[in-house]
Each structure stands twice: as structure tokens, then as C-alpha cells.
């Protein structure tokens, strides 16, 4: 399959089941809501070493938030419920509670409930106040800047993590420009996050390493500087490869995000140095979700 001169490989992205939750962070203005959300989603690119994958889903207007203030929707993904609960509570406590004027609410109502303000309330040292409104429990925790408000719990959903595609370009700036084009449209898709820095992976990994202590190492088949030294997947014209990883609540969400992202990349075409789109997989043996590029783009 070739779109605007860009070859779409006959391959698939392999993704895994994950647990996900969503929280709504609000603040006095959108700037501080964003800062709080950025802090909460920091160091959360990959479950390999961060404990979770997290990202900003989108910014919310005052009409979309529970307390009528500007807000940000944040999604967090982890491999299991306990790990997700731990990351959620730690990040809410260290990043949102500490952020001035902030408040945090559930972004998913149903499903298994994860503690949000349920344990953070003890920071109030006995001065915390519970309020039960509209069937939901909230905790008012007195803090130095006023009062921190946290909903007791947020819902957890079964989700999908690790959807991806790789952009192969003639130069590094052209690969980056293609990623920018894809990210610009993909961040508008609901129910997905792009957990890596700016949504882009500059150093995709393969499973395993020559060093026993490492579970993952550089994806040498796609490293342009190793073209002559390894079993490369790259042609002579490729000088840079970048990857976009997508976590989403459902397979459909990831498929949609991949489709519009790849469309944006292909729109740039070979005239802008984009030559191929491929995807990362492990032969289909590890992840139950397979996103076939040509099916998605057909």
C-alpha cells in the first residue's frame, strides 16, 4: 500500500491489555490546571521504569468541569490495578495536592473504584471535612493556599496500551516534522494519550538485551547508524526513525488515533522526506491486540 508516495508496510502494531483511569484537575486558571496536570503526568512515559504511562487527554473549559473552573483531563495507564492505584495516589498527593489552587475529581464514574481523596484526606490531620453531594463523596482538606478538594474515588477501566506506528524519513528534521503533524491531530482524539515526550519516541526499544540485567534495549533493526552492522529494516534512503505510541480506553480509540495520525504523516508525502510507515510488534505472540496498518488505512 502506498499513500502519497509513502509506503505502508504489511505489518501490525502489537498492544497489550492495561488498566486505565482518568482524573479531572481544576485550578484557578487554565495555566495552573495545566501545570498541575503536567506535574502529575511527568516521568510517566513507559511502564518499563516509570510505573505507569500518563498523559494529558485534553484541556477542559469551565463548563466541562465539576466546579466550573478551567481544568485538564489526565489519563493514567498501568499493567495492574494495584500498580495503577499506587501511581494515582502518589501522583495526586505529590503533584496535584501540592499544586496551588488545585482540585481533583473522578474522570470515570463507573467500574472498580480507585482511591483518590480517600487516603489523601489524612493530610488534613483531622481537620478534613467530608461532603456527600449528588451521590459522590468529596474531601475538603485544609491547606496553606485555602482548601484542597478531592473526590473520594475514581473509576478504573480495562484498556489497551502500546498501539504504535513508526515514521521512517530521509532526515531527522523531516521525521520530527512528520511526528509534529501527526501529534497535532492525534491529541484531539478523546480517550487516548500519547505518553512519550511530546508524543514521540526517539529511541524505540526491542525486547531483550545482550546484557542480562536489561529487559529491553535499543531497537537496532531501526537504528539508521547501524544499517551496515546489523540485520537492518531500513533502506539506504532512511536516516531517521521516530515512533508514536498510543494508549487508549478501547481498540477503537487507538485505531482511530492511528488512522488520523498516519493520514497526517502521509499528507506530507515523499516531497517532505517521509518514505515509510511501519509498526512495532513481537511477532504477535505477546500482545492480544493487533493493529494492522493496511487494514486501518484501507
Amino acid at each position: 500500500m502506498i499513500i502519497n508516495g509513502v509506503t505502508i508496510d504489511e505489518t501490525f502494531a502489537e498492544a497489550f491489555p492495561m488498566k486505565a483511569t482518568r482524573v479531572i484537575i481544576t485550578a484557578h486558571n487554565s495555566k495552573w490546571a495545566r501545570i498541575s496536570a503536567q506535574a502529575m503526568t511527568g516521568f510517566a512515559t513507559s511502564v518499563i521504569a516509570c510505573g505507569c504511562e500518563a498523559g494529558i487527554e485534553r484541556e477542559l473549559t469551565p463548563f466541562e468541569t465539576p466546579d466550573g473552573r478551567p481544568g485538564v483531563s489526565v489519563m493514567i495507564f498501568a499493567m495492574g490495578r494495584k500498580g495503577l492505584a499506587k501511581q494515582l495516589e502518589t501522583r495526586a498527593g505529590q503533584c496535584v495536592l501540592t499544586s496551588p489552587t488545585s482540585a481533583i475529581y473522578a474522570g470515570i464514574d463507573d467500574g472498580v473504584q480507585l482511591p483518590l481523596g480517600k487516603n489523601l484526606r489524612y493530610f488534613g490531620d483531622g481537620f478534613q471535612i467530608s461532603k456527600h453531594l449528588d451521590g459522590k463523596r468529596y474531601w475538603r482538606i485544609p491547606v496553606m493556599d485555602g482548601e484542597f478538594l478531592a473526590q473520594e474515588t475514581t473509576g478504573m477501566k480495562e484498556s489497551v496500551g502500546g498501539g504504535n506506528f513508526l515514521i521512517l524519513a530521509e532526515s531527522q528534521p523531516q521525521a520530527l516534522a512528520a511526528c509534529d503533524a501527526a501529534i497535532e491531530v492525534m491529541v484531539k482524539v478523546p480517550n487516548v494519550i500519547l505518553p512519550f515526550p511530546g508524543g514521540v519516541v526517539g529511541s524505540g526499544s526491542k525486547v531483550g538485551s545482550k546484557y542480562k540485567a536489561l529487559g529491553a534495549s535499543t531497537n537496532d533493526a531501526f537504528c539508521p547508524t547501524l544499517k551496515g552492522k546489523t540485520r537492518t529494516e531500513l533502506g539506504s534512503e532512511i536516516e531517521s526513525v521516530m515512533e508514536i505510541v498510543i494508549d487508549g480506553l478501547t481498540e477503537h480509540d487507538i485505531t482511530h488515533a492511528m488512522r488520523i495520525g498516519i493520514e497526517a504523516v502521509c499528507k506530507l508525502g515523499t516531497g517532505n522526506g517521509v518514505r515509510r510507515i511501519t509498526a512495532g510488534n513481537y511477532g504477535g505472540k505477546l500482545g492480544p491486540y493487533h493493529f494492522h496498518l493496511r487494514e486501518i488505512m484501507s
Binding site: D67, F127, K131, H132, L133, L149
Partner: protein
């Protein structure tokens, strides 16, 4: 929705215990079986048929017409169903109620919403003492649900209240929020003496500045985010609390009752 209507034939001489007619107890009964239910009226027992004209289809909705303040315990232990009462009601309206709704187009007597656990009660007129309270000897009053009173409420509204919300569009008499354990009481009108007497936790939200008891300490003026959620939860109610003009989040906060644990608060609109 099928509706069963009870029209009071005449004002009974004795007080009538209406608890056998709660929606849950009569569910599954035919209209003839309902007519033969016996009610305690003072020292005697009378059938429903002697007191009421009963017609309609038994179901989740019930209307009591020409009601009077001799009818006690309406909606007692109710878990589901919608009850509308045209006229006043006696004491213990919605006692131990757990769900559904009760609307009174008139006044309600003593101990309305007493030990209520869920659901909603709306009283279009005034309400007697001990709204949302606990029976003597019981440690916890209202534990959940919402009560809206369009008129005034008597003394000791929310006495021993543990959870839930009481909304009063009119005035509240003395000892409002007395011995309150938790929950929220909002009063748009005036409040009487001894506000929050013995209150250990909970919130009294007031539109008009009250006489602050000496055992409450001024905690300063604040903008509280939770008030936005509080008013948002009233959005769909047919009350002044859902009026955007009534919404505020800037309050003067008083902490108390410092004669006790002192974790309660009086929030006064500023």
C-alpha cells in the same frame, strides 16, 4: 406510571399511624387488599376504607388528598416510590426513609425526616421542630438524602444529624444544627439563637448573618471551591437553591462548637 390515590373522607378525631401504607408495604397488594389494611388511630384500629376513598392503580406512585396534620408516619421506612401529599401532614414524615421521594403540598409536623437515610423530601410549607433529628435516646438523626423546606423550620433542625442535606428557603428557629455530627444545613432566611449548639462536625450554610454563638471562632473569609459543587448538585431542584442568583462561593467561616470537638463550621455568605 400507575398511581394510587387516597382521599381523606374527614379529619380523624385521633392521630393515625400511616406507616402500613408506605409504598414498599403495599406493593403487590390489590386495591381491595389495601382498603382492608388496618391503621392504628389513637387507641383503636380502623381500616383504610373507613378513612379514605381509595382509587387508581397500585404502583410506584401514591397521592394522599385532603391530608391533615393528624396523619403521622407517612412514608416511614420507604425504600422506593413517589408520594405526593396534598395538604398538611403530622409528625414523623419520612422517618427512616431510605429512597424514593415525598412531596408535601402543605405543612409538616414534628420530627420530619427523622433518622432518614436516603431519598428526598420536599415540604412546600413550614416544618415543625426536630427536622432531620433523632428520636429521644437515639444517637444519630438523619443519615442521608435531601430535605427541601420552602417555608420555615422549627427548633433544633438537624439535631444529631449525621449525613445528608437539609435546605431551608425560609427561617430556622432556635438551636438549628444542635448536636450535629455531620452533614449540611443551608438556610436562606434568618436563624434563631444557639446556632450549632454542641455541633461536633458538619456545615451550616447561611445567607444572612446570624448571631454567632460565643463558642464559635472566626476563621476568616474564604472562597471555597466545594460550594460550586454544592450548588451544582441543586441544579435540577425546583427551589431557590437552583437559582443562579443564589449561588456564591465566598463566605465568612466560623469554627465550632469549641465547647465540644469544634470541627463544625458556620459559613455565612459575604
Amino acid at each position: 406510571m400507575s398511581t394510587l390515590t387516597f382521599t381523606l373522607k374527614s379529619i380523624p378525631r385521633q392521630r393515625v399511624d400511616m406507616s402500613p401504607l408506605s409504598a414498599d408495604r403495599i406493593s403487590g397488594l390489590s386495591i381491595d387488599e389495601i382498603r382492608m389494611i388496618e391503621l392504628q388511630a389513637g387507641g383503636t384500629r380502623v381500616t383504610v376504607d373507613e378513612l379514605f376513598d381509595v382509587y387508581g392503580d397500585p404502583g410506584e406512585s401514591m397521592i394522599i388528598r385532603s391530608s391533615c396534620d393528624k396523619l403521622d408516619y407517612i412514608g416511614r421506612d420507604q425504600k422506593t416510590g413517589y408520594v405526593t401529599i396534598e395538604g398538611s401532614v403530622g409528625a414523623y414524615l419520612g422517618m427512616n426513609m431510605r429512597g424514593g421521594s415525598i412531596t408535601v403540598i402543605g405543612n409538616a409536623g414534628l420530627y420530619s425526616a427523622c433518622q432518614m437515610q436516603g431519598g428526598s423530601i420536599e415540604i412546600k410549607g413550614n416544618c415543625g421542630d426536630f427536622l432531620g433529628g433523632a428520636l429521644p435516646g437515639i444517637k444519630q438523626g438523619m443519615k442521608g438524602g435531601t430535605v427541601l423546606v420552602k417555608g420555615n423550620v422549627g427548633e433544633r433542625a438537624g439535631d444529631h444529624m449525621r449525613r445528608g442535606t437539609i435546605l431551608v428557603e425560609g427561617n430556622a428557629a432556635d438551636y438549628c444544627g444542635s448536636r450535629m455530627i455531620a452533614g449540611t444545613i443551608a438556610v436562606m432566611g434568618d436563624t434563631g439563637r444557639h446556632l450549632g449548639y454542641g455541633m461536633s462536625r458538619g456545615t451550616l450554610l447561611l445567607w444572612k448573618k446570624p448571631v454567632i454563638p460565643p463558642t464559635f471562632n472566626d476563621c476568616g473569609s474564604h472562597t471555597l471551591t466545594f460550594l460550586s459543587l454544592f450548588f451544582a448538585s441543586m441544579r435540577d431542584s425546583d427551589s431557590k437553591f437552583s437559582d443562579p442568583v443564589a449561588v456564591f462561593n465566598r463566605v465568612q467561616r466560623y469554627g465550632g462548637d469549641m465547647a465540644g470537638t469544634g470541627r463544625g463550621e458556620i459559613l455565612v455568605k459575604i
